[in-house]
Every structure is written in C-alpha cells, then in structure tokens.
Amino acid sequence: MERTDQISGHSLGHFIMEPMWIRLSASRSAHLSRRKSFILSENSFARGRWMTHHPEKLIKDLNVIARDLRLDALEIIHERGQGHPGGSLSVAEIIAALYFHHLKIDPARPEWPERDRFILSKGHACALLYSALAHRGYLSKEELHTWGHLGGRLQGHPDRLKTPGVDMTTGMEGHGISVGVGLCLAARVKGLGYRVYVLVGDGECQCGVLWEGAMTASKYGLSDLTVIVDYNGVQLDGPVQEILPLDPLAEKWRSFNFATLEINGHDVRQVLEALDMAGEIHDKPTAIVAHTTKGRGVSFMENKAKWHGRAPNDEEYAQAISELKGETRHG
C-alpha cells in the first residue's frame, strides 16, 4: 500500500493516517448513517474536507515550542537528578499542540469552570507538563527549578491542589480516563461546554481500570472525551511488546466503541488534525493512538527503557541539549 499523507504531502512511513480515517468511517457507517449531524465520511475525506487549515507558521511555532519544552524538561530533570526523560520527550508535540493551540484555557483563570480539562494520566511525564505550564504562564520559569524541593508546589508527580493549571492529581497509572468520564458526565448534568483530554501512556494501557473507564465512556457516548495514547513502545522494564503486548492497540479502542485515529505523534500537523477531528465526532469518545518515540530527539535515549526513569549526568545532558538544539547531528 502506498502510504502518503495527502494532507501535508510528507511520507508518513509506517504511520497511517488516511487509511485509518477511512476505516474509522467504514466501521462507523451503519451507526452514523442515522446521524445527519455527522460530517466525517469516506467521501468527505476524499473530497479533501480534512485538508489542513493550519497555517505553516503555526506548525513551525509549535515545533519550536515542542523543542523548548524538551529542553526545559531535560534541564529540570538533570538539575534535580530525578525524573522520567523518555516518556517526557515522547509527548512534547502532543502537549505543545494542546497547550499552545487547541485547549480552551486561560492561565489567568486556572479554575475557570468552562475551561477544557487536560489530565496527564501518565503523570511521570510531568517535567514536560510543568515546562508547558511555565511557558504558558501558569508558573514562572524560575519556579520550574524548585521541582521536587521540599515545600515547593511542584511535586514528583502532578498535584492538583499544589500546582496551578494541573486539573487532576496523577502519577498512579490507569486513572485518567475514568476521571475524564466523570468530568464529562458532570459537564452533561451541569450544561457546561468543556472538553476533556486524557493523555495516557502505552504501558498504562495494560491497566484493567483503564478499560473499565473506556467501557463507561462508550456507554454514555462521551464525545467530549478525547484519549491520546503515547504509543512509544517502551515501558519501565523494556519494550511493551516483550513485557505485555498491546497490539492491535487501535483495534482494541475500536472494539471499545471509540472513534479511533492513528497518527504520528511527533507530527504537529497530524496531532492538530486529529484533535480537530475528535471535535467533529458527536456520538462517541475518540482515541488518538499517537505513534511516538521514547526519548525522542536525544539519540542515546531513543527507544531505551533505561531512560524511562533516569536523569542524565552532566556529560549526557550536554550531549542531549546539543542534539535538541540541532548543534550536533541527531542520531
């Protein structure tokens, strides 16, 4: 099969966007044919309805932000001598796209009831989240350097009571989707218009409770819930495929009755498109399986389980930032 991204014109390698979208509509066709409001279909795709509308400048800016978030996350991990670089580096584009374009949020009003909610269910990636919150104005850049200090506001994993902009305390795997379900149900009861985004790790998809929450999301047709899976393929003890395989992961989400998209999670344009598409689905939750690389951007960290929860030493850190800044050749 010739796999070409018709949206951006770039080769997607093994990441399939267009065929998946078509499969999405096909699997939904019986259900959706009864829904006039549904605008996604194989035809609409073929007509180019989903041709990108995001300007090049936005894509470029978000890529710069993603790089800066990586640099800041690595800096505070190195400074603290603790943290999770691998799973932080793999979500930089996703969090950049959410916090710097997609989410309906206001840093001046972190408790705004109508704000979109973001739950970092894979709470161990908080170095990246804290960096995003600082860049977005929830925290000062200086405060980033207090991460993990006794008495500080930035805990080892996100704490909703201590850190402005953190919607839910996380760090124990598996909770985010069910919490997101409750948030969506509350919005439905109260007539609030926010959407809920839950970023889960792939190892986390081994938790039974995650799929319990997925069933309930499906039962109530929570179209305001978008789950993004950071499918970087590596967990604490080694490759996911060796520890406890997840494939076919997208099929799992489809079988739980989620509208399911597969994207390259490092392609900002694809991330934005998928988030937009999720907003156009009105009868079920969406899962975006984002194929990513653990440790993305730092050659010696990429795809290495040992960088799941280990901080770089001074030499490794210097090499890492040099690569991220493009001063040395990546890989």
């Binding site: 704490d159 839910m168 124990m172 909770h175 989707i177 409750g182 948030l183 009861v189 109260k190």
Partner: protein, 313 residues
Amino acid sequence: MDRQSLRKAYGESLVDYGATNPHVAVVVADVSSSVQTSYFAERFPERFFNVGITEQSMVDVAVGLALGGMIPFANTFAVLFLRTFEQIRTCVAYAKTNVKIVGGYSGLSDFKDGPTHHADTDIAIMRSLPNMTVVEVADAVETRKMVPAVAELDGPVYLRITRADMPVLFDESHEVEIGKGVTVRDGDDVTLMGCGVMVSRCLEASKILAGKGTDARVVNMHTIKPLDRSLLEKAANETGAVVTAEDHTVIGGLGGAVAEALSETYPVPLERIGIKDVFTETALTYEELLDYYGMGVKDIVESARHVMKRKFS
C-alpha cells in the same frame, strides 16, 4: 422495638436530599437494587450512573464528577471497596476530592453470602487515610440525618451502612453532627461505646447491667474519624472503664481508634468487642453470626464486668 431498613432509609434520603441539591449524583457498580440507590435512579436518571462491575473505575468516575462540581455518592458493598483502595488513596483522599464512598452490606450483615462478602476491615483501612472522614450509622433515623450531613461536608467521606433492618433508636429530635459522638444513655460505672449496629446491642447490654446494679453509659460514636476525643476522654474520666463494640475486626477500627486515643491522653482499662482477627463463616441469620463471633449482648455485658474489675483504684 420497631425495626427499619437502613439501606432503604439511605436510598430514600438520597432522593429527598437530591431533590434539594441538584449537585448530588449517584454512581453505582451493579448493586443498585441491593443498596437501594434505585430510588434515586428512578427520580433523577440524569444524575444516576450505573457503571457495571467496575468498582475501581467507579471511584475514579466519582472523582471526575466531583472535579466537575458535583457531589457524587459512589456505591457498592463495603468489601468491594477494598479493590478500589489505591483509587481512594490517590484520587479521593490525597487529591482531596469531594467524593462520598458508601459501603453497603457492612460487617457481617451479608451473613448469607459468607466471608467473601463480609466487610470486616473497611473501617481500619479507610481510617488510615489522611483527609478521610469515616462514619457508620446506627439506625434508620440516623441514616436519614446523616446523608445531608455527609453531602454537605466538603471533602472525602466513607459512610458505612449495614444491610440489616435495625431497631429504631432515635426519634426525629436526634441531631447528627459529624465528628460529635452522642451519649444515648447516662451512667457512671462503665462506658459502652459502639458504632453502627452495635449501638443497639450496647443499649440492650446496659439494661441487663442496670438490672444487676451497674450504671453503664452508652455512647453512639457514629464518627470513627475524626474521633470525638473530648467526649471519649470525658467518658473515660467519669466512668473509669471503656468497652468498644463494632461489627468489624478489633484491629484498627473503633476499638483501635479508642485505644490509640486513650493511651495517649487518658489511659483507662479498655476492652474491645469485635471480630477477633479471624475470617468468619456463613450463617442463616445475622444475629447468630454476631453472637458466634463474640459480638453478642452477653459478650458486651461480660466485657463490661471484666473491665470494671480492672479499673485503676
């Protein structure tokens, strides 16, 4: 004495209170007809969520509802909340979300289903969590009074409710304040301090003791955490001996809480009525099961006599 169902009282109270407070929501894990949240389901279907046998997810869904400004009551059998302990610790207690966890079928009250279904450790486990309030109700009247109090307390609460129909102990003048024990019988010779179903047994024991010239004080300690230390210390001071009684293991529950408090502030002889660190069995009635495992009225009477002999001179 007239007996009434506490779970029915709970189910009806949810409806009554839910009618006055649109933020109340109910989540349940496939036991709605058992714990009688079905009344709420009929009246407020838009605020009722049956999530099937997904207890762990149910707790997290309740957390999300709370984050969204609702006051969720999460319901299943008390013993089944054990499988949700990490959810409760991380997402309810630590994250301090306004979730009400309601453990039905508490203690041995699900006598017929056997020890798999007996909730004999839940008070101890819930009590160990910071931010958690732990309450057990003694009769239907107290249940009706407690539901609004639990809903209006801003923070996590574990509410323990028996499956059994229990004697009605209180009239409508009964006032409930979370964290404040209730002295239901005055006496100066010994204190019988119970929670939940054991309050009525303490009262029965006090009548037997009175017939033999012993004037027992009976305290309904419906809030196990935070424990009403001033009421406890006053009782210890004035009666010089305490017997605790609970349908729960003697480790870490009401008896454990009282032992911890008294030993630190006002040590007096103490005996603990409860399950003596064993797994239980199935029985044909709740009453015989309580009696068999040492929670009978005669056990309370004997403990009272024994503890009084140990009083400091």
